[in-house]
Amino acid sequence: MLVKAKGTQQSVAASRLLDGEAVWLGAGNIWVEDVAQAAVFDGAEAIAEALAFAKAEEKRQIVVDVYPLDVEITEAGTRPTHLRERLKGIGPTVRRDLGKQARQPAA
């Protein structure tokens, strides 16, 4: 179930209209497929501004189901704090051959 974002650091998630792919708003207001590259917005004003842009993107038929999520900044990039959002950034844990995780280059 969608968890309400409450933190001071948030990103903006959505799904792409045409294929349902999970995407996040990245630097320069570009939608990115890798949550690690999601832009992090600090404070209520920045979050509201990012959400307003994302909602406008919804009206332009680019994305659907826009919402904010709590994140933290790590060495590997942006990391959602809640399990649901982390899984959205990976794919099904029971099918490692599917979803975003399947596209990651082998470490």
């Binding site: 349902g20 649901r84 029971v94």
Partner: protein
């Protein structure tokens, strides 16, 4: 081609000519093709921006299309679980061409594809329409796909073929002008025998076949107001006996009352179970009876000619006279212990001498409950053609069934299934677990359910141990919506979010069968690692307590929950 007893394959008929599926007439075909083109236009308008997502969402849901965690998900209706081999092959093709090579069978006897692209969906629906399939009534606040007993038409204890009435209900409910926008979704299940194999008492309406011993008439006991989710209720008996010809009128009365009184102000209180229990069952049933008395009965009377016409679609296949005992079957069992074990768990008695009902497990040890790869679907279709009149059934327990297999053919069937990863001898046993998609796919879930099922199955991988334990049904849901039926598992597992971590509560004593019961939470939950040990503790406690011949649910009923609770929490 292997040896086959299929009369169709040995003639010029299609191999599934005798499959008991409802074959569409021109009216049906025109309707579903028009519906596909209507949806194609709606998708095009959505992509162009002529309609908003808010406007489009109810439209896509009416066509089975959800937006999930990673992608869109298309839920395809399998009316009352019946498929021809042609339809199974088409599902395999859709999985391979438009999705990621597999499908997922659900507890509503449907199939879901987890990765379709929006722009491909109208074409997928067109491919489905070509084989009399669609995604109508798989979502939205309408009467959903009617489910039934997977052994219908083959079971020895059957009083009435539930498919006939399920199809009549489909025709009555599809595009019903009053019931397309109900307060909430509405689920109906039918069992054609006195033994409930369709979990009817946890449905909005449940029908169990009954024979009036004084008149000899056949009808249904009607249950109303059952359901799982966050507020589980067993259905109450509305009428002990409604003759088959009056069943549509009686259900019309129930739906009218619900449509009037069901709550539209709160989604969590909108199901009929809430209305029945807030109002009181007696008062609600009284209103049904008042409405039923007001109905123009003749309009809703089920015409015997219509019943006869629909019955032809479900005519028995051309069984042949066979001896009661197959020497080759007995010899194979004696020679191959693995096959003998499969026959003990995965076969059910057929009403016709020399035949058996075979359950194909979609629960290989460590596999994903209900998933089938495209190759496996094609294998099942081929085996259905060879050995079961080209017909396949989907069970609400997320398995498949070949309902009419000659005993002589069972060994060859099992060997072919086993080679395809479909021969696990675990139907009804501890690793035959119902699990919802959970947080691996579902946008509503709090926790994962599939990997919990996989790890339990792996813990109990030893099939001899499973068979020794006997019937034991574990059902797992990744959230309170209970799509994994945890309320009616002998052992139910409910995933909950505890400060961002996955926790799992154990319920004991649920039962989806004739003696339907809701499980009770046994105590505090367990973390992701601890839940598997906890399940094993429950099982080991059963083994210590059981008396000869008892299965888990019987031991639990005799001892109560206390010894299980003590075993689980004594260390705390």
């Amino acid at each position: 081609m292997p040896d086959t007893h299929s009369p169709a394959l040995r003639s010029n008929q299609p191999a599934d000519a005798h499959a008991a599926v409802y074959r569409y007439d021109e009216f049906d075909k025109t309707f579903i093709f028009e519906r596909v083109e209507q949806f194609r236009a709606q998708v095009e308008r959505r992509i162009k921006g002529e309609i908003t997502e808010e406007e489009f969402k109810p439209i896509r849901l009416m066509n089975g299309l959800y937006l999930q965690l990673h992608a869109y998900m298309l839920r395809v209706a399998v009316p009352y679980g019946m498929l021809s081999s042609t339809q199974v092959r088409r599902l395999a093709r859709i999985a391979r061409v438009y999705d990621k090579g597999y499908g997922h069978f659900t507890t509503r006897q449907n199939i879901q594809f987890n990765w379709p692209k929006l722009e491909d969906v109208p074409t997928i629906l067109r491919e489905l329409a070509e084989v009399d399939m669609h995604a109508i009534q798989t979502s939205g606040n309408c009467i959903r796909n009617v489910t039934t007993d997977q052994f219908c038409g083959a079971a020895a204890d059957e009083l009435v073929d539930p498919r006939v009435y399920a199809e009549i209900l489909r025709q009555w409910s599809t595009m019903h002008p009053e019931f397309t926008y109900l307060p909430r979704k509405f689920k109906i299940a039918i069992t054609g025998s006195p033994n409930d194999r369709a979990a009817v008492q946890v449905h909005d309406i449940g029908l169990i076949a009954k024979k009036d011993e004084t008149t000899g008439r056949v009808g249904f006991t009607v249950y109303v107001g059952g359901g799982q989710g966050r507020t589980p209720y067993l259905a109450v008996k509305a009428r002990d006996f409604v003759p088959v010809e009056e069943i549509i009128g009686y259900l019309e009365a129930i739906l009218r009352v619900y449509n009037q009184l069901g709550r539209r102000d709160n989604i969590y209180k909108a199901r009929i179970k809430i209305t029945v229990n807030e109002m009181g069952a007696d008062k609600f049933i009284g209103l049904i009876e008042e409405e039923y008395a007001r109905l123009r009965r003749q309009k809703f009377h089920v015409d015997p000619a219509i019943v006869d016409a629909i019955q032809t679609h479900f005519a028995p296949p051309p069984w042949v006279e066979l001896p009661a005992i197959s020497d080759s079957f007995e010899a194979a069992k004696a020679a191959d212990p693995a096959f003998a074990r499969w026959t003990r768990s995965n076969l059910t008695e057929h009403k016709t001498r020399g035949y058996a009902i075979a359950t194909i497990s979609l629960k290989p040890i460590g596999g994903i409950p209900g998933d089938a790869e495209a190759d496996q679907l094609e294998t099942v279709a081929d085996l259905a053609d060879l050995y079961s009149f080209g017909e396949v059934r989907v069970t609400h327990e997320q398995n498949l069934v070949l309902a009419h297999v000659r005993q002589d053919d069972l060994y060859a069937l099992w060997k072919a299934l086993d080679a395809a990863g479909l021969g696990t001898a675990n139907a009804g046993l501890i690793s035959d677990i119902i699990a919802c998609p959970g947080l691996d796919y579902c946008a509503l879930a709090n926790t994962r359910a599939i990997p919990v099922a996989q790890r339990i199955a792996e813990r109990f991988a030893d099939l001899d141990r499973q068979h020794d334990l006997g019937e034991l049904k574990i059902k797992i849901s990744g959230c309170i919506n209970a799509c994994g039926h945890h309320h009616v598992g002998h052992i139910g597992i409910l995933g909950v979010d505890k400060k961002g971590e996955e926790f799992f509560q154990i319920l004991l004593g649920g039962d989806a069968g004739t003696n339907a019961a809701l499980g009770e939470i046994v105590g505090p939950g367990f973390d992701y690692d601890g839940i598997i040990d906890a399940v094993e503790t429950v099982v080991n406690t059963f083994v210590k307590l059981r008396q000869p011949g008892e299965i888990f649910i019987q031991t639990l009923a005799r001892t109560g929950h206390a010894p299980f609770k003590e075993a689980l929490y004594a260390r705390a």
